[in-house]
Symmetry: C2
Subunit: 238 residues, 2 copies
């Protein structure tokens, strides 16, 4: 990572005519660093889920999804390097970002675990996507491609929706669990914003077109709407 | 998996002129199933190790090694399918083979964990390599390629050897741990052979050129020698 300040000077960092030059490269690296860490965390989590899967087929499927997270991480690394950064120092400030969240949301069943993967980390992905709105075109593309179809949507939606439909008690327990996950996920986003004041301007810019009192409230409204949409896909009350 | 018996009839299963026909395809599938399961187990273990790594660099390195295990698994799957088998049913009989071993060898430090990865699972790899001696040429090649340089040799040897050299107390503790791991690994191999009597003829054939009273003793002598070689590379007493 270069030691340049975030002056507004227009430059062509990484040989690419970015709108904001150096400052925008720093912003892009901040977002990429967070995405990189989230992919590594997703890898660890999916691998752990795989180890606890009730059958060999699901274990293989989840292991394959864990591998995809590392493939995503490679693409993020490539973009970081194109921007003149290095993976480790760029992602290091975000290491451990989910520890508090994970400690506060320990799933007690396989279904809770699956739902956490889908709606809990879904919030983190939406947060990254939102922040990436105003970074350079190429970086935004990478972030969106990497996060698209994230968190093993098919497997999770299929089996969770089926289970919830056939068992109303499970469905209402999972709806409750989903609300708890969303609340804790928003707390985690707050903590990230508190710990990284350098992200505030990026957030302000990204939320310029959203309605709400301030940037954080707009972000939370957006994240909550996406969460509700996700719960709706599972047939669960948000 | 086909439901054929292991008659000695010479056939050209999977369109390949194998020496023993159907019987040899069944033997090849038995070995491949075990290797496949060991790769999946290696994936889970390396991913778990990655999550516990003391630094981000090691976490990334171990995660990458976990991914390699799944790449290996893909190659084994390809060969299984070439032989007319299917991954899940072929590997299912070996699922859980390491559970007892893992329960009996819980590492209490990061160093013990690394050593377990190298010498504990090294025994399992050697066992597969030994069994693969008499299966068809192409299967043997796949098994050898997949197990070659297994268990993240470089990372482990480098850091373990350095640590042991600079700390004699650690070195003697690890030497003791290595002996315990080897003993438990040999117990695990015995358990596999007891649970899979169909592997006995394969073992007899594979050990024909080794010295020893019976096939299992020959195998154990071979596995012990390989274990000593591995400990030697680390500068530890076997």
């Amino acid at each position: 990572m270069s030691g340049t300040t975030t002056s507004g000077a227009v430059g062509s960092a990484a040989g690419e005519p970015a709108a904001g030059g150096e400052a925008s490269a720093q912003d892009a690296l901040a977002v990429l660093g967070m995405v990189a860490y989230l992919e590594l965390a997703a890898f660890s989590r999916l691998a752990a889920d795989a180890g606890l899967a009730p059958g060999l087929g699901q274990r293989l499927e989840l292991s394959g999804l864990a591998r995809q997270s590392l493939d995503h991480l490679d693409r993020v690394r490539d973009r970081i390097e194109e921007l003149g950064g290095e993976l480790e120092p760029v992602m290091a400030p975000h290491a451990g970002v989910l520890v508090e969240f994970d400690t506060r949301t320990v799933p007690s069943t396989w279904w809770e675990r699956l739902l956490k993967a889908y709606v809990g980390y879904g919030v983190a992905d939406d947060f990254c996507r939102a922040l990436a709105r105003t970074v350079d075109e190429r970086t935004r593309q990478v972030v969106e491609e990497v996060l698209e179809g994230e968190v093993h949507t098919d497997l999770v939606v299929r089996s969770l929706a089926q289970a919830a439909q056939s068992d109303p008690t499970l469905a209402s327990r999972l709806a409750l669990w989903g609300r708890r996950l969303a609340g804790e996920a928003l707390n985690a986003v707050s903590a990230v914003l508190d710990a990284h004041p350098e992200m505030r301007p990026l957030l302000e810019a990204a939320m310029a077109d959203e309605r709400g009192a301030d940037a954080q409230q707009r972000l939370f409204a957006l994240l909550t709407a996406e969460h509700s949409r996700r719960m709706g896909r599972l047939g669960l009350a948000a």
